[in-house]
């Protein structure tokens, strides 16, 4: 965890320094203390700092959400993407952009509302004389399929300009990072994460299997429900600001697990991993190619995948793999 924190700080510093308006480290430091030129203040305060903080918060939300899903459902492929949360957010986002031309804060609100409605619908659909996590996952997959069908349809039928704008949003980007959006998001995120923190020990016990956990006094279905609800809420919050960033949730959970050595779910570590992953991806997305800058979601797969593969290969070689 200490290593990750250092990495985060390094990345954040890098993000503060890099950019089209070149600022010297002295100016950056000056602005942070409160005595800088107005231009530096604008660049740091309005452009870079909110973007960095948004990356950290969104990355942490996605990381924790992914880890929560993976340990509660005991399935390495589980993540908010698979069970339809980010997919339903995509649908709402794409429809809002293409049909209603929304953007910015309004778009975020609509998306979060849509994702929560979808999550409730999925829960109700999966509820039949009680809740089963397996059924919830399958219903989620069905809903995800419907949503991706709608997105495909809209992308193939709309005007090419709209299709491009929708595609950018669906990929996920941090271009909309503003203080106005960041504050409520961070507050929500913190509240939900506290909830997750309270449930961490029962969740670790759940990993031993339902019967063992019940024997150890954990209210199995209720815990699972509460923690999945928190995971859904975190993912919805993250997606409302940055769009459905692919792979961050899945990768962070797995990377955290392997960094810690097998056994421990590492929910908190996943948050750090997610934040670092997103920050690194954002830097690469903005500055890797001198002429173009990509939406962040394009790079998350390119950064996360090789790293996860490297970890898998390393743990396989040393025999600590799965």
């Amino acid at each position: 965890m200490a290593g990750l924190s250092i990495l985060l700080v390094l990345l954040a510093t890098g993000a503060l320094l890099l950019g089209k308006a070149s600022l010297s480290p002295g100016e950056v430091l000056g602005t942070l203390i409160g005595q800088g030129t107005p231009m530096a203040g604008f660049v740091i305060g309005e452009l870079r700092l909110p973007r960095i903080l948004t990356a950290v918060v969104v990355g942490a939300c996605l990381g924790v959400s992914g880890s929560v899903f993976q340990s509660t459902l005991r399935n390495a492929l589980a993540s908010p993407d698979i069970i339809g949360i980010t997919a339903s957010a995509s649908v709402v986002g794409v429809l809002s952009i293409v049909t209603f031309g929304l953007s910015g804060f309004t778009l975020s609100l609509v998306v979060i509302g849509g994702a929560l409605v979808a999550a409730t619908t999925m829960y109700l659909l999966a509820w039949r004389n009680g809740m089963s996590a397996y059924r919830l996952v399958l219903v989620g997959i069905g809903v995800a399929a419907i949503c991706s069908g709608v997105v495909s349809y809209v992308l193939s039928r709309s005007d090419i300009q709209d299709a491009q704008a929708a595609l950018v949003w669906v990929t996920g980007s941090l271009n909309n990072s503003t203080w106005k959006a960041l504050v409520p998001v961070t507050v929500c995120a913190v509240v939900i994460m506290v909830l997750v923190g309270i449930f961490t020990r029962p969740v670790h016990t759940l990993e031993l299997g339902d019967d063992t956990a019940a024997g150890l006094g954990v209210p199995v279905e209720r815990t699972r429900l509460a923690i999945i609800a928190s995971g859904v809420a975190l993912a919805a919050v993250a997606v409302s600001i940055a769009g459905p960033l692919a792979f961050v949730a899945l990768a962070s959970g797995q990377v955290a697990r392997r960094l810690l050595g097998t056994g421990n779910a590492g929910i908190a570590v996943s948050g750090f991993v997610g934040a670092a992953l997103l920050l690194a991806s954002d830097l690469i997305a903005q500055f890797a190619l001198p002429t173009t800058s990509f939406p962040t979601g394009v790079v998350t797969g390119l950064v996360g995948a090789p790293f996860l593969i490297w970890l898998l290969v390393r743990s396989s070689r040393t025999g600590t793999g799965s």
Binding site: A76, A78, V143, A145, A251, L312
Partner: protein
Amino acid sequence: MLAGLAVLLLVALASVMVGASNITPATVLDSILHYDSRNTEHLVIIEKRLPRTLIGIVVGVALGLAGTAAQGLTRNPIADPGLLGVSFGATLFVVLGIAFLGATALSGYVWFAFVGAALASIVVYSVASVGREGATPMKLALVGSAVSAACGSLITAIVLTDTQVLNSVRFWQVGAIAGRGYDVFWQMLPTFVVGTLLALLLGRQLNGLALGDDVARGLGQKVALTRLLGATAIVLLCGSATAAAGPIGFIGLAVPHIVRVFTGPDYRRVLALSAIVGPVMVLVCDIIGRVIAPPGELEVGIVTAFIGAPFFIALVRRRKLPAL
């Protein structure tokens, strides 16, 4: 099973009959027996509907079998045939083909898709095989999703920088069996046949694997060989389907679950029935796509999501779910 085959035949017939202009069964028979190229209805049947139906059947069988094999191989109920990176690899190479090599015709895409599917799955399988235990289900699934994500990122990167490519790809990517001629059918047939045979023969092995690697070995199965053959079957089948029709998402995942409700967990029966339910699903969705939005059509890939998913959800709600 026989009932299933009968349903398949009926649906196939319907697929040839139904469309923008409905054609009677008598005409269909006539066009096959006494083909008259000056008769427009005969033309429509032989040149458009028949290849479409044939490709639909083949794609359905391929995806149904590949999905069952994928879930059996990884012991993971949310695995789908794209898990070895096949769909994304195929799409990536089609995008590369369009962007850098100027591929235009649909039959051109087919070869790129094949190459991409093969390369992606080779990468996934080799990386997952590193280490003493070989390609365990968990590693296969994880490496597969990592490679898919990387391919997805590359695809988006290319497509966002070049509007032309986006324009060509977004139609291919929806997944459709319309507009493909006999050439596409023959192109995919060899790999499809090999893949189908391989998959159907693996039933007993998959049953053993489902009990866990150690038990399977204890029963005398060669686990590593089964995994290799299974992975090959998945790649051949899913690769052919994606090359012919573009990435059609939901079928490989849903068909095994639907079939299992009727057959129970024995993989020999699940595989056999998947080979029937798969094409029925594809053809039914294609037919619906033709009639639901006149004067245009909805592609199969979209309809499977809209129709298949609610049906799947209803099924999940109704029955007691057998464990994987």
